[in-house]
């Protein structure tokens, strides 16, 4: 099979549009490798190529979609036919249409570092093996590492439509992750930490080792806390998980369908004045940085909550049309599904004080290192949440004994108003979110 350029394949399909048809073609092609090390040796070496095509065809507000994991011409034409057939069963939605170019300039960030595709297999293997060795060496209580992993991937993406959108982007990254097991007095704890970057030099292996190992060892001897109402400090990754839920309910999709607890609250105070939350894919420091959104509109900064007040919802072109506003360039898209709407690179405006100072201020509370059950424990429609939590007790301003097997519960609405302080310990998390610790008052902790 001769290799054709993605924009050429896409343009050919778009040019075949029949009268009255709007067509949007998304194509991707990528390669990835993963190396797993175990007990000083390669455990598995995985590599593969992948391809994808996703086609939306709209006639007079009726949309059909089809996709496939192959660019084989026979399959691509099957996808076009399926999309065409599917739209005949859709019912008219006057707001449904392909995104129109809006004249906003793309930030034109240089987000692809070619060096990431030149890393040798030998080097990848050496890093995975070294990561395992360093986890074992850091603490005598580490008895094994369930997985010590290197991964890298490269992909190109093209989006072409009858509305005049035509983009072609290329990206790559590398990542590492470790899951050490720590044992003491017959008890085992497992830790995990990973990092991802656009270039090998930007991976922080030291931090991965420290966070992964300490994540496991610090929980040894953890006990169930007593049920009570306490002040809680979320470390940045936990704060990011919760604010991610908040951001999800500030999307046009949820708002338009009446599935957001914040739907009717534009301009109102929904959080404490210390909280400013925004999405900024134009900030190159974030791994979530992008030049375009999922519909090919320029990426841009959007301020969702400014000093506690609800400033904007996020929109793609569909939700914007539906609510009579303009797209905020917030379409999220994978080739294999229709465009959605969401954050690309969430950030918080940091406070001033260090994590130690935040802890120092708490008389009786908990420092939450991680939560689980977020996917089952949060109802994004009602805002109720109840999730498993683990971390450390805070006693008279200092970190105390570890705890586990507890839940914290509240509502997302309540939590935003119960924020006592935003930490100054701002960092970009491996997923691209820029976040600080959050101190929250009066959360119900359930234990024994």
């Amino acid at each position: 099979m001769t290799r054709r350029e993605l924009p050429d394949i896409a343009r050919e399909i778009v040019n075949s549009a029949k009268d009255g048809e709007e067509i949007e073609v998304a194509l991707s092609r990528g390669r990835s490798t993963t190396v797993n090390a175990y007990r000083g040796e390669v455990e598995s070496l995985k590599s593969g190529s992948s391809q994808g095509v996703g086609i939306r065809i709209i006639i007079d507000g009726c949309e059909g979609f089809a996709s496939a994991g192959s660019l084989d011409p026979e399959i691509v034409s099957e996808v076009v036919n399926e999309a065409r057939q599917n739209l005949t069963f859709a019912e008219k939605d006057p707001h449904q249409a392909i995104a129109l170019p809006d004249g906003v300039e793309s930030p034109r960030l240089d987000l692809f570092d070619r060096s990431v595709i030149g890393i040798s297999e030998k080097e990848k293997i050496a890093i995975a093996i070294d990561l395992e060795r360093r986890c074992l060496a850091r603490d005598k209580r580490v008895t094994g590492v369930r997985a010590s992993t290197w991964s890298d991937s490269w992909a190109e993406f093209a989006l072409v439509s009858t509305a005049g959108i035509a983009i072609h982007e290329e990206g790559g990254n590398c990542s590492v992750g470790a899951q050490p097991l720590a044992e003491e007095s017959g008890e085992t704890q497992i830790g995990y930490y990973g990092d991802m970057a656009r270039r090998l030099e930007d991976l922080d292996l030291d931090k991965v080792v420290v966070e992964a190992v300490d994540g496991a060892t610090s929980l040894l001897g953890a006990t169930k806390p007593a049920s009570q109402r306490v002040t809680v400090i979320f470390e940045p990754s936990v704060a990011a998980a919760f604010l991610g839920v908040v951001a999800g309910s500030l999307t046009g999709d949820r708002v338009a369908k009446g599935r957001s607890p914040f739907a009717e609250r534009m301009g109102e105070t929904i959080a404490v004045a210390d909280l400013t939350l925004f999405d900024d894919p134009t900030d190159e420091r974030s791994l979530g940085a992008e030049n375009y959104d999922g519909e090919g509109l320029a990426a841009r900064r959007n301020d969702l909550i400014v000093s506690g007040s609800l400033n904007t919802f996020l929109h793609n072109s569909y939700t914007a049309r539906r609510l009579g506003v303009i797209s905020t360039g917030s379409a999220v898209r994978v080739v294999r599904s229709r465009p959605g709407v969401g954050m690309h690179a969430m950030q918080i405006l940091p406070g001033d004080r260090t994590r130690e100072e935040l802890i120092h201020n708490v008389r009786n509370g908990i420092f939450v290192r991680g939560v689980n059950g977020l996917h089952s424990g949060v109802n994004p429609v009602s805002g109720d949440f109840s999730v498993g939590a683990y971390g450390h007790r805070i006693v008279e301003g200092s970190l105390g004994e570890p705890f586990r097997e507890a839940t914290i519960a509240s509502t997302v609405q309540r939590m935003l108003l119960d924020i006592v302080e935003v930490g100054g310990d701002f960092e970009f998390l491996p997923g691209g979110t820029g976040m600080s610790s959050l101190v929250i008052a009066e959360i119900a902790l359930s234990g024994s």
Partner: protein, 470 residues
């Protein structure tokens, strides 16, 4: 009755043999070719109209080569002989010893065929839209407080072929059909949701035995009931779980910890515990991939092993773990039919199929009347477990208070949290009303596979309920 689907392999046997020979050419000891062709379609109905209809197709091959403890793996969507040769060479490169030529002889003992009565893709899309509409109408007429209804239909056909250098050449044709209804009810104190799902490893005949209108009414009533729900209590309480409503508890609380890959790496709280009493003597736990039409049923697993019924815990004693090819070879035993993968792009690992607790002897009504103060969980949501410690959490999507032996007020959503080994010991009554639960998707290391679970009504003497009420 039903007609066999034509058992036509996805790839020509001679091409498979050639590819496997290439895979072994660099010194590999064992090689496997996994081919997959998956076609699926889904449609959703939202805000009273057809929201979207979509179709998808995935076709590709994954090639695995092992040498000692090392696994090489490559996948491709290019099924031409050159594409397969290239993937085989990449997978083979994990082996470093001298090259050699190996004979590969395949024996086609298992070109299994799925017996479905009605292949969903042969049913008209009009008929599917009519089902969606019927469910939407039924949910909306369940009560004035129902403000939103989303209905979803999906069908999938997954044809696989597994061949390896030990001679296995087997195929399976897996057809699954699923229907779900989500409702939102609006009341004075905000919004509440209710969900119901039905899905089996069957074709369109799913709808001969399952009425989508009744399903929709149940989902709607669940949301309506929760409008008057009060906050769930907080702290340790006896918890009664309705039959078929909480198999996920066992999936999370101990199922994952009984997967041999986790056990081997010391990442399971159940390591070195075979033959020991790990649960209340009332508990017998089985994982069974052969269960007819259940959501986790398979003819063969994704490594070509025939599925089986495997007893994991018998009368509270741990009898066995679940195994895949690599781990069973290591332990010198036969695989248990639990080697599964999300797609041809993934390496297989140990996974559950249909996991369930068998019947006890008590009448279900007696379990409730015997509980003075506790929580009755009619439906559990998703969950998560830390296999190293056994700590788990999962959401209650329909729950009630039990007061003086009677089910009283509905409770708002909350999580249950506990520790697998402790919960297994704390099961103090099991009823005789076994039922399978809703179809589920189990995620492990980023791979999702369909699974089933089930259990009779049972009681855990103490579980931590993570509500907000005192």
């Amino acid at each position: 009755m039903s007609e066999d689907l034509a058992p036509e392999p996805l790839l020509d046997p001679s091409l498979v043999e050639t590819t496997l020979r290439v895979a072994l050419a660099k010194g590999g000891e064992w090689a496997e070719l996994f081919a997959e062709d998956r076609q699926s379609a889904s449609s959703s109905f939202d805000e009273g109209r057809v929201d979207s209809m979509s179709s998808s197709r995935d076709r590709g091959v994954g090639i695995r080569v092992t040498v000692g403890e090392i696994t090489g793996f490559a996948h491709t969507s290019d099924l031409s002989s050159e594409g397969l040769k290239e993937a085989a060479e990449v997978a083979a490169s994990a082996a470093t010893s001298s090259s050699r030529t190996t004979a590969v002889a395949l024996n086609g003992d298992g070109l299994a065929s799925t017996r479905v009565k009605m292949l969903p893709n042969l049913v008209s899309k009009e008929s599917k839209v009519a089902l969606l509409r019927r469910a939407d109408e039924a949910a909306r007429s369940a009560g004035g407080s129902i403000s939103q209804v989303t209905v979803g239909y999906s069908e999938g056909r997954r044809r696989i072929l597994v061949a390896n250098t030990a001679g296995i050449f087997r195929a399976d044709d897996q057809v699954r059909t699923l229907f779900s209804v989500n409702c939102v009810a609006t009341g004075d104190q905000g919004l509440q949701t209710g969900r119901e799902t039905v899905g089996y490893t069957v074709g369109y005949e799913l709808f001969e035995e399952n009425d989508v209108a009744a399903l929709a009414e149940r989902a709607a009533n669940r949301a309506i009931t929760k409008l008057r729900a009060r906050p769930a209590p907080s702290g340790e309480l006896p918890v009664v779980i309705k039959n078929g409503g909480g198999g996920v508890l066992f999936h999370e609380a101990c199922g994952h910890g009984l997967e041999a890959d986790l056990v081997k790496k010391g990442a399971s709280v159940f390591k070195d515990r075979i033959g020991q009493q790990v649960a209340s003597p009332l508990v017998t736990l089985i994982d069974d991939g052969t269960m007819g039409v259940e959501w986790g049923a398979l003819g063969i697993d994704d490594e070509g092993a025939f599925t089986r019924s495997n007893t994991l815990i018998e009368n509270g004693v741990l009898t066995d773990y679940m195994w895949d090819h690599l781990r069973s070879k290591d332990a010198g035993r036969v695989p248990s039919g639990n080697g599964r993968r999300q797609s041809y792009q993934h390496l297989p690992m140990v996974r559950m199929t249909n996991t369930f607790v068998t019947n006890g002897e008590t009448e279900p009504a007696d379990v409730i009347s015997d509980t003075t103060h506790g929580v009755y969980v009619a439906q559990l949501g998703g969950g998560q477990v830390n296999t190293a410690t056994g700590d788990f959490v999962f959401g209650m999507t329909e729950a009630y208070l039990i007061e003086n032996g009677e089910i009283t007020e509905p409770l708002r959503e909350g999580n249950l949290i506990g520790n697998g080994p402790e919960v297994l010991k704390n099961i103090d009554v099991i009823a005789n009303d076994f039922a399978m639960g809703s179809p589920g998707t189990c995620g492990k290391d980023g791979q999702g596979v369909p699974v089933g679970d089930g259990q009779p009504t049972l009681r855990v003497s103490a579980l931590t309920v993570g509500g907000t009420a005192a």
